[in-house]
């Protein structure tokens, strides 16, 4: 629980204060969504779902737009991540980046679609997707870099394993082969 709370605070602080200072414009990485992937991946099922709802609420509060759409999209994203986690036993070095990239592409597009639809405004999905592409690339690269560093630290610490399994226990790994 402490990990989730700390990660929540750090992710949102960095997103609201550090990312604007980078001056990368539309290519700025989406640290909150990258953190969401990590948080859900390392959490128990119920914790991950509730945590995603809280993150969605915080994201809506900071965005200035209507509240609620972020909660729904974040919760559904967490559910999707948990489904993927149940099917992927081991992750290669690039899969965290791919997963994060997909989330960074889909979540803002879905939130914007919900907002535009609720205000009965015309929706141009292609424009919404195109404007997210720079952030998708930067965030995916950041996720790959972070995972690589994490794995390198684990190897140094002698924990073995070359895969990103997050918080999955070795007992589970043994029982599932």
């Amino acid at each position: 629980m402490l990990f989730q709370i700390c990660l929540t605070y750090v992710a949102f602080v960095l997103q609201s204060s550090l990312v604007p200072r980078l001056g990368w414009g539309a290519a700025a990485p989406h640290l909150v969504l990258a953190g969401l992937v990590w948080m859900v991946w390392r959490s128990e099922a119920r914790q991950g779902g509730i945590g995603a709802a809280v993150w969605g609420l915080l994201a809506d509060a900071l965005s200035g737009g209507p509240v609620g759409g972020g909660v729904v999209v974040f919760v559904l994203t967490a559910w999707g991540l948990q489904e993927v986690r149940a099917r992927w036993r081991r992750m290669t070095w690039y899969q965290p980046g791919v997963l994060t990239g997909v989330v960074v592409l889909c979540v803002p597009v879905a939130i914007n679609l919900l907002r535009l639809a609720s205000q009965s405004e015309p929706v141009e999905v292609s424009k919404l997707i195109i404007q997210e592409v720079p952030a998708v690339i930067s965030t995916a690269l950041l996720a790959i870099l972070a995972c690589g560093m994490f794995q390198a630290l684990r190897r140094r610490g002698g924990e073995g394993g070359g895969d990103f399994t997050g918080g999955v226990s070795s007992r589970w790994m043994d029982s599932t082969g």
Binding site: Y9, L62, G65
Partner: protein, 311 residues
């Protein structure tokens, strides 16, 4: 690890949809709480960034920084000049108003207590109709929602006038808006970068007001009532029982400890007392015409830091 149960997911999604029914005022309070909670962390990051830049002597935009510093200095000088102008106007108005019942603006020398609230006038630009339309249609938002550049939906809804100051300027709903010494209206919804301006003639506007009459002795104040807008060109002044003449002036209500001088609403253009009624039917033509204004001043209240820190 397993997945969350579909029931939990459904419950959380329904909770999310139901949040859209929460009143906007509550949502704004919630937003303020979240931003306040993140503030300590943001300050740490900002401090760390500044220390890092200083330590590494990194200044990739040194030319731009110098230009920015020059701009900041010129803006500061312009602000100081504006303050001097306002002080001069205030002194001139004090000389013109010789009403002894009205307190002087400057505190007597030797005053030992400082005020709890500090009033500041923040200059804001009124967005023209075309610019307002572009802003509301999100054609000026640039990078989009992912970079956090999203304006409040409340501000973007409707077609009320907008000013170019928002949450980042620490203004709040209810702040009065003036043009010089004339009341323009008040702020109703505060967005991130812009805010909605309710002018005195808008339906829903109301404010304390009192009559005043110019005589040989200067301005003398009379009955106090409520000025309301009705969506028409003229405002109504209600709850006045004393005799009223066309041509009487209308000012803001009695001193509230914030502003030393009353602010001017407009002039009475119709005053009738119908048979059997005790209250006069008064219509007021506002002095400030929004169509003719491109800049206004927003009265922003804040706590006196000296008083708060002393505690």
């Amino acid at each position: 690890m397993s997945c969350a149960s579909p029931r939990l997911i459904l419950l959380l999604c329904l909770g999310g949809f139901s949040l859209s029914l929460v009143p906007a005022g509550q949502v704004q309070q919630w937003r303020g709480l979240v931003r306040d909670a993140l503030l300590p962390g943001e300050r740490v990051v900002q401090w760390g960034g500044d220390q890092l830049a200083t330590a590494m002597h990194l200044s990739p935009n040194s030319g731009k920084e110098e230009g920015a510093n020059d701009q900041a200095a010129s803006r500061l000088e312009e602000a100081r000049r504006r303050i001097r102008e306002l002080e001069a106007r205030l002194a001139a108005l004090q000389d013109a108003d010789s009403n002894p019942s009205f307190p002087t603006a400057l505190p007597p020398r030797g005053e030992t207590s400082s005020p709890l609230f500090v009033a500041e006038l923040l200059e804001a630009r009124v967005l023209g109709e075309e610019l307002r339309g572009l802003w509301r249609n999100r054609k000026i938002l640039g990078a989009g929602a992912t970079s956090g550049i999203v304006e409040s939906a409340l501000v973007l809804a409707g077609d009320a006038p907008l000013v170019d100051q928002g949450q980042e300027s620490r203004i709040t709903a209810g702040d009065a808006v003036y043009a010089g010494r004339c009341v323009v209206g008040k702020i109703t919804d505060v967005g991130r970068y812009s805010s909605v301006l309710q002018v005195v003639t808008d339906a829903g506007y109301s404010g304390r007001a009192r009559l005043a009459r110019r005589g040989a002795q200067g301005l003398s104040f009379g009955d106090e009532g409520t000025l309301v807008g009705s969506g028409e060109e003229l405002c109504r002044l209600k709850h006045i029982r004393q005799p009223v003449n066309v041509g009487d002036e209308v000012y803001t209500g009695a001193a509230d400890g914030i502003l030393p001088e009353p602010m001017y609403y407009g002039t009475v253009v119709r005053a009738e007392l119908e048979e059997g009624e005790t209250e006069w039917l008064i219509e007021v033509r506002p002095a400030a015409r929004l169509r003719q204004l491109d800049r206004v001043q927003i009265l922003r209240l804040s706590l006196n830091a000296g008083r708060v820190l002393a505690d």
